[in-house]
Point group: C2
Chain length 206, copies 2
């Protein structure tokens, strides 16, 4: 069995990437979603170990010190990070593992793991992003201002991503996401076993 | 309308890439197949301007001298090349243009056009390649020996390709081919217009 692919999914605040990932997991069986650790407080309905592992600042810094995170980042005064063990287990089982992480975290992982597939989710327009963000209705004025600045920074970071997906129609976007991952599986670098097989057929001459 | 993508398709002799490309053109409307020029003699049923533009050696060398070819290569004592004008017209019309060319030609184009998508078609095994080649039944002993040597060279060249497609089931392989091209359209480098649009929404600040 060949190893799974590691996929980093980032996107503008309000791009609906969380909903999109739920849809992908629902439509296609081979994905596993990495569960992040964070120091931010749970939002209503969020469950420990499902949406996040909720940690205190001290607990999180211990994970950092023990090298138990693939990446971590500080974002609007909170830590976010990806515990290593779960991801490695899923990849070994041949699952394609989705890291739903912030831009700084994704670029950090890319440096360590060049095979990482970088996908950035965007809304069709900035107006649409603002509309979606306002709808959420849980944010203070100060946070809204911070988020707009953040979107500007995210736009610049987006230019480091390999794939850009416009999340307009949810089903279409989920299918396009899956299509990208299937295409990545066809890359030479991800077909070492097949190449090995053909090489052996030539009696190892090649 | 955004420009089409240029796709070079190569493969082992006997990988069935010609049949595969016919299937792709039949299943999906947006592709255009580039028609190559060659100095080799027509096989039974091949038509001028459909399978190839058949040229004399002198005519072909004139195309080279006038820089009217994107690439050309000499292969089993014959020239093969890609006339430039038709390809550029199709790309401008937003069609995805398939170059079904030999390995040396594809790598030549990649140097000139970095956005070229390189796809290599292979049979599931070397035994299957030999079986398919024998079935054709139009080749001399000498040519068969040359082709085997060629397959060995092709295997080495394959390592320069980005995508490897195993042509086992024709329909599945055609769908996978289309999937790769759709994924390529989602790449940042192929979405300049969308990025321009978002940048303008930020009032050109980004």
């Amino acid at each position: 069995m060949s190893k799974g692919l590691l996929i980093a999914v980032s996107g503008f605040s309000g791009s609906g990437k969380g909903t999109l990932m739920k849809k992908v997991l629902e439509m296609y069986p081979n994905y596993a979603l990495s569960v992040s650790a964070t120091t931010r407080r749970p939002r209503p309905g969020e469950r420990e170990g499902v949406e996040y592992f909720f940690k205190t600042k001290e607990e999180f810094e211990e994970l950092i010190d023990n090298d138990e995170l693939i990446e971590y980042a500080k974002y609007v005064d909170n830590y976010y990070g990806t515990p290593k063990a779960y991801v490695e287990q899923m990849l070994d089982e041949g699952r394609d593992v989705i890291l739903e992480i912030e831009v700084q975290g994704a670029l950090q992982v890319k440096k360590k793991i060049p095979g990482l597939v970088l996908i950035f989710i965007t809304a069709p327009s900035l107006a649409e992003l603002k509309r979606r963000f306002a709808e959420r209705g849980t944010e203070t004025e100060e946070n809204i201002r911070k988020r707009i600045e953040q979107i500007e920074r995210e736009f610049e970071s987006m230019m480091n991503y390999e794939y850009i997906l416009e999340n307009d129609d949810l089903d279409e976007c989920a299918a396009a996401f899956h299509g990208i991952v299937q295409a990545e599986h066809k890359k030479l670098i991800n077909q070492k076993e097949f190449i090995q097989k053909i090489s052996e057929e030539f009696g190892g001459k090649i």
